[in-house]
Amino acid sequence: MALMPADSVAEARLGSLQGWVQPVLAVIGPDLYGDSIETRQRSTSFGFVAVLCMVAAIALLLVVEGHGAGRRGDAAMAMLWFWSGVVLLVVPISLRVAWPQVARGERFFLLFLLVEALFYYKVVHSPTSFVGHDEFLHWIAAADLMTAHKLFLSNPLLQVGPSYLALEIVTAAIADLSGLSIFAAGTLLLAVLKGTFITALFLFYEKISGSARIAAIGCLVYMSCSTFVLFESMFSYESLGLVFCALIFSIEAASQHLVGAPRLRAVGLIVLLLSALALTHHLSAAYAVIYLGAVAVFEALRRDNPLRSETKYTAFVAIFAIALPLIWMEIRGTHIVNYLGPVVEEGVKNLLGKFHHLFADRPVISDASAPAQPFGMRAITLFAILFTAVGLATGFFRSLALAAPRGDRTGRLAIKDVLGRRWRESRLVFLALLAFGFPISVAFRLSIGGWEIGNRMGTLAFFGVGVVVAVGVVHYWQRRSPQSWRNIVPALALSIIVLGGVTSASLNPIQGRYKVGADEQSIEPMGIETALWTKRWLGPGNRFTSDRINRLLLAGYGRQDARVAVADGVDAGRIFRAEQLDSDAYWALANGPIDFLLIDLRLSTALPVLGFYFEPWEPRSAAPLSAEALLKFDGIEGITRIYDNGFIVIYDVRGLHGHS
């Protein structure tokens, strides 16, 4: 065997490495292969639109049938009907939207159809009432507003609620003027908000990318955000806040080429919307601060800026975005850090803990109380994450190249321009960097404590993810004059990405039997009837405490003053979980404001699905609560059991106060 010289070996290795690296660079590289197919004038195919409307209607009927079967306890049929409906709803429309040769108007209409169909999908889960935890909080606030004809009433279940009442104000306006119920008025409002959001997002992406096709695909990708399908369709302040954000981003992007009075008018409209946003939702206002602040910074950094006034305008808007929420918080005396701080702290702690276990030389302690999803749902979510990651990898440098100054300099030269702070579109550069929030948000979602942070991060990060993946699809996967597989495969992958938005939105989206500690799956007619009983026989406004679900029902349906704490520093959970009523608990009941305790004995039948019975911060239980612990109030002098239906018991503790 002949010996090879060392430099030959090195050369051979380098050659092999280059042979390996070149295809990878070609995949992620900045070369733009797409053309301006979408800019060619095409007419809408009404045939496709009509057929897809019919398909969506049939799909929604299947979803409703799935819920019906779930309510009847037929889990197998429920799964079959429901998921058939979801696939039939998402896949055909996504395929058509992502298809290269489709008219702009048709893409836009189909996106609108899909987003409203997904909203319908959310509403038919509970077609006559709100069932989400946060929905109850805002429903109660809206009902209080309409009853008292006053704003800023205290909300014991949402401390910051009185400072962010915009959703309730608009809902009250619709309900007062129309005579509709709060549920009907809120649902009408949300339907309009969903349509407005997707319109604003489409226009935003179109303005910064110059392509309706990229805009439409970007909107599809945004729908895969875990908060889009359910969380941002809820009767909750972020649903309105996010719409304001999308509108502000869209108007700001559209106004960048205006000068003089038209520009000032656009800025005036942005300031109006920023003012409304400041009163709507703290976190959405923070999204606007991050985005507008970053755009201002990138404009300031940008070299060869032909319009230096652009820097001044973006800085001016960013100052308003920062100042208005701060002024509102100052006026209201809201301490948002106290509200959000513990959530962020817990999330970061959990994430660090995960990494610590991952790299430590000891077994990973699995979180026993982590709620589980069916395998199929988890598989779709994982594939959606995988495809999104691939889309990001192929779209990141291409997005930067797209943001570079147009001219002869393409490919790596375009990236060199961007690195030299020469770009055409600051917004696109920032969104490309923002897409890095996606893997971080996924990492946060791996732990229960960090799940909420990951979710909220995703909402902002997906503004970047959407456009970056869309650029990857158009400029790498589909390319110019696409072959048939390049039409079908990326479109199918996008369908799965959108399906991932449905599967990652909730643990189990199908209506079914009552479950313990499962938020909307714990709300059923008997609990509602009991809450209504309290309003009818005790009157509204009594001070109650109970578990997380019954508190919502008492406050919502019963119009009671439902409280988390029995007395200062003593949560209801501590009193309910204890086997005996010790002297501290007795003292809290005797001297605290609570008049009634509502005990749900069903809590003793299972561990809570979400991991907690009363509040997220309570210690995780290894076994269900005992019925004896829950019924320990029997026989205590001064406490009487005034209501019993075999599952739910109400105790009157006013005798301890010496009032009754």
Binding site: C53, S178, T640
Partner: protein
């Protein structure tokens, strides 16, 4: 080609005036929804955009901005009406009327050219497209009705509610006792009431069909010290104790 006229402003003012009239004189939900919904969600924003002089390049863009401006107008209205203590239906109607008429006047005085984006003309739309769309709407509406029916039919738990309210809730010197049958079949009960452990009242053979409620107010003697009243519900079939509730009768 845009639309150059102020007819839209005249129409918005007429709409706002009609809405005020309807809110003032009728409780018709349909009429009020038809007039009030678009006012809160679109029309007020449209006139505000006109007053601002913000131009848009397409109809979806104009509609999206108009919705945003309407929402902001509504939020501002909430603050103003709250300050004036008239957060009522008529207060809302007045607010939107003032905004609509005021913004329209401002636009007219400033001689703002509307230049609204034109409505797109659909080409290639056939009858069968319309019929298919109508059928899709019917299916979706029917599916919603089905969902409402399924929800109304859901009754996982079967139960009987039993309660006793103390004088502080039932009325001076009396207790209220109630039974409601939420079982799917007729139930028969015997009911026994004691006061400080002594028999006080008995009700036999209470027959309750599904959904029926039985209530009774019982006068109680008030003594110098508090007394504990207890009520026990027995199933007539086996005479076993089924439920028990209690209440305090305060002393003088």
């Amino acid at each position: 080609m845009g639309i150059h006229s102020n007819k839209d402003l005249s129409a918005a003012c007429a709409w706002a005036t009609a809405m005020v009239a309807v809110v003032a004189v009728t409780d018709s939900t349909l009429l009020r929804t038809i007039l009030g919904g678009p006012m809160v969600l679109l029309i007020s924003g449209h006139v505000v955009l006109r007053a601002f002089g913000v131009r848009s390049t397409s109809l979806p863009e104009h509609l999206a901005y108009a919705v945003g401006a309407s929402l902001a107008t509504g939020i501002a209205g909430g603050l103003v009406l709250n300050a004036l203590d008239i957060l009522t239906p008529l207060g809302w109607a007045a607010w939107f009327w003032i905004v609509t008429v005021g913004a329209s006047l401002l636009t007219t005085i400033r001689h703002e050219d509307s230049d609204l984006p034109s409505w797109p003309r659909p080409t290639g739309l056939r009858l069968w497209h319309g019929i298919t769309f109508a059928i899709a709407v019917l299916i979706t509406t029917g599916a919603y009705a089905l969902a409402v029916r399924d929800e109304a039919d859901q009754q996982q738990f079967k139960y009987v509610e039993f309660w006793m309210l103390p004088p502080v809730n039932a009325g001076t010197d009396r207790l209220t006792i109630g039974v409601r049958n939420a079982e799917p079949k007729t139930e028969r009960f015997n009911l026994e009431v004691t006061l400080s452990g002594r028999p006080f009242a008995i009700f036999r053979s209470l027959t309750l069909a599904p959904g029926d409620t039985w209530t009774r107010e019982i006068p109680v003697p008030v003594q110098s010290t508090a007394q504990k009243a207890e009520a026990r519900l027995y199933r007539q079939d086996d005479n076993r104790l089924y439920r028990s509730v209690s209440a305090l009768v305060p002393g003088t």
